[in-house]
């Protein structure tokens, strides 16, 4: 291992903040991946509480049922690395002020569930925080078909995208594909922060 590369990566990540909108299947798994990678600060935004059905794919445990997702996620991240700064914001993102929690993030990860809200969030961030890169995801339901997932890059927006996937209203959400895309989002966030890995 190249010591110099390692040191540079470590330092750059420690100085960086990633904001995550949503702490469900995408958000919880992406946050844990970034925590393990050594990100310095996370901003977690979600208003929801943990239900039993969430355990099928979200990074929570039985003894956390009923807790606020962002509080439980902070707990789990602190068990991995107590030095990471974790800010938890318990609000429902409302149209017109969706960018507010993310103003000082270096990268924003869209990890919301409803297609309408995903669209509104991405559009609002692109408009109000035009200099902040945003990573989004669309098309994660089902199983298999990993090879259909790709990154669509357009300016500051990077989408993990499977255009042939069905809506989660018509298909099942399962841990492997959800975690795959969550980690895909986290990986893109690293690439944005560190630059292309040559």
């Amino acid at each position: 291992m190249n010591e110099q590369k390692l040191k540079k990566i470590k330092q750059r990540l420690e100085e960086s903040t990633v904001g995550i909108a949503g702490a469900g299947g995408l958000g919880s798994n992406a946050a844990v991946a970034l925590a393990r990678a050594g990100i310095g600060r996370l901003i977690l935004v979600d208003f929801d509480k943990i239900e039993r059905s969430n355990l099928a794919r979200q990074y929570y445990f039985l003894d956390q049922l009923g807790k606020n997702k962002v509080d439980a996620l902070k707990e789990n991240i602190k068990k991995i690395n107590p030095l990471i700064k974790v800010e938890t914001i318990k609000v429902k993102l409302e149209k017109g002020e969706m960018e507010k929690p993310f103003k000082d993030a270096d990268v924003i990860i869209e990890a919301l569930d409803d297609a309408n809200i995903k669209k509104e969030f991405i559009e609002e961030i692109l408009k109000k925080l035009p200099d902040t890169p945003i990573v989004g995801a669309s098309g994660l339901s089902g199983y298999g078909n990993s090879d259909r997932i790709k990154t669509v890059r357009c300016g500051k927006l990077l989408m993990c995208y499977d255009e042939r996937a069905k809506s989660c209203d018509d298909d099942i959400l399962m841990a492997p594909r959800v975690a795959l895309i969550a980690n895909w989002e986290a990986n893109l966030a690293l690439e944005i922060i560190l630059g292309e890995d040559k």
Binding site: G25, D113, G139, G155
Partner: protein
């Protein structure tokens, strides 16, 4: 005379609006984000904005699930 749509090359048609372009491409999803040369075009402008030749276009449709 061509445009690039999600990294694929597609014919450019003169005076084609985004609305017509989406129909031609059979993108019939209700929730799409359209970016032309890195600029997001709001939905209310889809019937007005013409696609310039050699544009780079991203069309992403939002699918529920998170």
């Amino acid at each position: 005379m061509s445009i690039e749509v999600n990294s694929k090359t597609v014919d450019w048609i003169k005076d084609e609006t985004i609305e017509k372009f989406l129909k031609r491409m059979k993108y019939v999803f209700p929730l799409v984000i359209v970016k032309i040369n890195d600029k997001v075009v709001p939905k209310q402008d889809f019937s007005k904005v013409m696609i310039p030749d050699k544009s780079k276009i991203a069309v992403i449709h939002m699918i529920s699930g998170g």
